[in-house]
């Protein structure tokens, strides 16, 4: 981890305005913000660790625990909402056996919600690892999540 961290940090100057991009790149690399990274960033940018945490906890993009291989994001935007996003979320929770914000024990799936994906004309939508899936129904969800009847609950 140390090597990957320092190679990321070496492309920055350590200015205050770089904090968010640094956090974004580190999360992009590790899938989350490891504790050690937070410490290193603080040292690198010469700010208290609490400042780095202050930012990381403010923005919903950042997380402190690893995520699963398939990052499922259910849109809770207005267009999706009026076309049944609540039920989509319920169904995904049921199919994956986890609640919003959780990751399956086998680290296969993580489930989060997102304010809007921008495919509102095809609502309700979900996004799996940056791929948008549109017009979700129970059947489509079962298909795209690879949770057919045979799969365990």
């Amino acid at each position: 981890m140390e090597e990957r961290l320092s190679s990321i940090l070496s492309s920055y100057e350590g200015k205050r305005e770089e904090l968010i991009p640094i956090l974004q790149q580190i999360q992009g690399e590790f899938g989350y913000l490891p504790e050690q990274a937070m410490l290193e960033i603080a040292r690198f940018a010469r700010v208290p660790e609490s400042s780095v945490y202050a930012i990381a906890t403010f923005y919903t993009q950042f997380r402190f625990t690893p995520i699963g291989k398939k990052h499922v994001m259910v849109c809770r935007g207005t267009a999706c909402y009026v076309r049944g996003a609540s039920r989509v979320l319920e169904t995904v929770e049921e199919l994956l056996g986890i609640k919003e914000g959780e990751t399956t024990e086998d680290m296969e799936y993580s489930l989060e919600t997102v304010a809007c994906i921008g495919a509102c004309g095809l609502s309700p939508c979900i996004m799996i690892n940056k791929k948008v899936e549109a017009k979700m129904t129970r059947k489509r969800l079962t298909d795209v999540l690879g949770k057919g009847e045979a799969a365990e609950a």
Binding site: K15, R16, E17, E18, L19, I20, P21, L23, Q24, A54, I55, F58, Y59, T60, Q61, F62, C75, R76, G77, T78, A79, C80, Y81, V82, R83, G84, R87, E90, T91, E94, V114, A115, C116, I117, G118, A119, C120, G121, L122, S123, C125, K130, K131, V132, E133, A134, K135, R138
Partner: protein, 626 residues
């Protein structure tokens, strides 16, 4: 090579593409197209055409705005004009190749419209179809027509002609032109663009900044995304002109991270502009230097607010501060800063390309030009539309949008996102402009337009927005932090059957106080969804608190579903749709809902093709047992 030489080349190439005797196939591959499967369709064309020895040009384009029939493919096979096909699946793509490209039958059954003004073999001209007939596509003119990753395509369509003109006439004249156009900010508040610019230009100091607000925080809106994906150079050109006018050398595009494709396209466009000497030092020999940096948002709605956005770029928590001083005087690092929305800046490019008078041809006295809207929700033709300011809601929803999905009764339309309000059927003739929408208690906002049918509960809908506002409140000021939470709690109580009549009045009183006392636009507008729904749908609130009934069947604690025996055909679709096996009934016999098992998810109601599943008139005490 000078820009004009490059343009001449680009125009020649574009003309060659139009005149080519090879078929040209346009595939819309913006995010919405992709979500509907456009990339798979693209693959079919890429694989099948060479395999069959068909020589054709495939071009990836942005979005025409017809989300409801994505994926879209447009095939031009000379001598016929281009024909636009809808809902193209990989299978249909093969049918198009075999039927049209090989066998010369243009597959009229799959077509939506034909390019140009003549119909063809029973296919109407595209621009005569109801979806397009009432639109005036200016900002979106190039979207879905050009390849957004092709610099020459932009150049061949007046691209950067506005910049050339700006550099010739000088900054003051640019501001004058924008003033004459009547352009007002497209990001929400509708502030006259020129006035901000003037303030910034006159502010002391040489270091000034321009920021493009591409955060598009309104959930349910995607105007900016489509433009960035379909025509990214339009934004860059607008930014160059704006930077030149206000005297900024450095600028930022603050774009939400949830838009990966838009970010990719913008970064690509920036590289291209640099290669052609349109970004960097001494642009087109004018002595003007300009740089654009891209910043990715990190998922905070409040960062769309300009002072919070500034804090976020500076690397702080995205918390707004009170204004004045306005960013135009003291913004990014305390330097004069202009923040403009994507569509505003794209409009600036158009104004310089075609002139202020051209821009002001459309619109109303106080709201000039055209505006893009994301027409979504329970409407047939969902998509991105562009209409003259002042077009009525009715025209947008019923003529362009084709009316309510499933021809259900129209209930309300929500404009302006979490800061806006719900407008009822009685006000459908309201013209869409800044002032008329404000008078109706809503706002124009950035252009989100969510249509609702009778199955949407207005109390629950208000609760939804308050949940959003409460989660997104940055917490800095008390009225917003605690007020939105209180509004949410009261609304939640009402939707759970725990509300009283006094609660409705309390919501109004509290809402007004939050509007007055909040620090930034988030809190100042967060009560709007509650206040407008109470204003127009008070009876629905009363049904919740007095009759303890949710008329639309949304609020689970207040709903009981029943199957009307006379209407039920016994098809069994409801039973199949029920996730908790709460429906019993033999095939072809009347079905019945077992109330104790029913979770009120509403899946059966949605599944029933005959409308036999309805909300019980009054909550029936007697258990319906099966």
């Amino acid at each position: 090579m000078s820009l004009e030489d490059t343009r001449a080349n680009a125009q020649q190439q574009w003309q060659a593409l139009q005149d080519s005797d090879k078929p040209v196939i346009l595939v819309g591959t913006a995010t919405c197209g992709r979500a509907a499967g456009a990339l798979e369709v693209l693959d079919v064309f890429r694989d099948e055409l060479p395999r069959r020895g068909i020589d054709a040009t495939i071009v990836e384009v942005g979005c025409l705005g017809l989300c409801y029939v994505e994926p879209l493919v447009c095939i031009t096979k000379p001598p016929r004009p281009g024909i636009c096909y809808t809902n193209v699946t990989p299978k249909k793509a093969v049918a198009l190749i075999e039927g049209y490209l090989v066998n010369d039958d243009c597959q009229a059954g799959m077509a939506l419209g034909v390019l140009g003004d003549q119909g063809l073999e029973g296919i109407a001209p595209l621009l005569e179809t109801p979806v397009f007939k009432h639109q005036v596509r200016r900002t979106l003119a190039r979207c879905g027509v050009i390849d957004p990753s092709n610099f020459d395509h932009y150049l061949a369509h007046d691209g950067y002609a506005g910049l050339t003109k700006a550099l010739k006439v000088g900054p003051e004249q640019v501001i004058e032109e924008v003033k004459n156009s009547g352009l007002r900010g497209r990001g929400g508040a509708g502030f006259p663009t020129w006035r901000k610019w003037q303030l910034c230009r006159e502010a002391p100091g040489d270091e000034k900044y321009l920021v493009c607000n591409a955060d598009e925080g309104d959930p349910g809106a995607f105007m900016n995304r489509s433009l960035l994906e379909g025509d990214p150079h339009a934004l860059l050109e607008g930014m160059l002109i704006a930077g030149y006018a206000i005297g900024a050398e450095t600028s930022y595009i603050y774009c939400r991270a949830e838009y990966p494709l838009a970010l990719e396209r913008v970064r690509m466009a920036i590289d291209q502009a640099k290669q052609h000497g349109l970004l960097g030092e001494d642009i087109l020999g004018s002595g003007f230097n300009f740089h654009i940096k891209v910043k990715e948002g990190a998922g905070a709605f409040v960062c769309g607010e300009e002072t919070a956005l500034i804090a976020s770029i500076e690397g702080e928590r995205g918390m707004p501060r009170s204004r004045p001083p306005f960013p135009a005087v003291a913004g990014l690092w305390q330097k004069p800063t202009i923040i403009n929305n994507v569509e505003t800046l794209a409009g600036v490019a158009l104004i310089l390309q075609h002139g202020a008078d051209w821009f002001a041809e459309y619109g109303t006295e106080q709201s000039k030009g055209t505006k893009t809207f994301a027409l979504v929700g329970q409407v047939k033709n969902t998509g991105l539309v562009e209409v003259p300011m002042g077009t009525t809601l009715r025209k947008m929803i019923f003529d362009i949008g084709g009316g309510v999905l499933g021809d259900k009764p129209f209930k309300a339309v929500q404009t302006g996102g979490p800061s806006g309000g719900c407008i009822p059927a009685s006000l459908l003739d309201t013209p869409v402009d800044y002032d008329s929408l404000a008078a109706a208690g809503s706002i124009m906002g950035s252009g989100g337009m969510v249509v609702m049918d009778e199955d949407t509960c207005m109390v629950d809908f208000a609760r939804y927005f308050l949940d959003f506002a409460q989660k997104e409140s940055c917490g800095k000021c008390v009225p917003c932090r605690l007020g939105t939470k209180q509004l949410l709690d009261i609304l939640t109580d009402i939707t759970q059957g725990k509300g009283t009549t006094e609660d409705i009045d309390l919501l109004v009183e509290l809402g007004e106080a939050i509007k007055m006392g909040s620090l930034c636009g988030l809190g100042q507008t967060a009560p709007n969804p509650v206040l407008t729904t109470i204003r127009y749908f008070r009876d629905e609130y009363e049904a919740h608190v007095i009759d303890k009934r949710c008329p639309s069947g949304t609020c689970r604690a207040l709903t009981q579903f029943v199957i009307v025996p006379e209407t039920c055909t016994g098809c069994g679709l409801c039973r199949a749709a029920c996730p908790v096996e709460a429906i019993l009934g033999e095939k072809k016999a009347t079905h019945e809902i077992i109330d104790e098992r029913c979770t009120r998810c509403g899946a059966c109601r949605e599944a029933c093709p005959f409308g036999a599943v309805t909300v019980a008139e009054a909550k029936q005490d007697k258990q319906l047992s099966g």
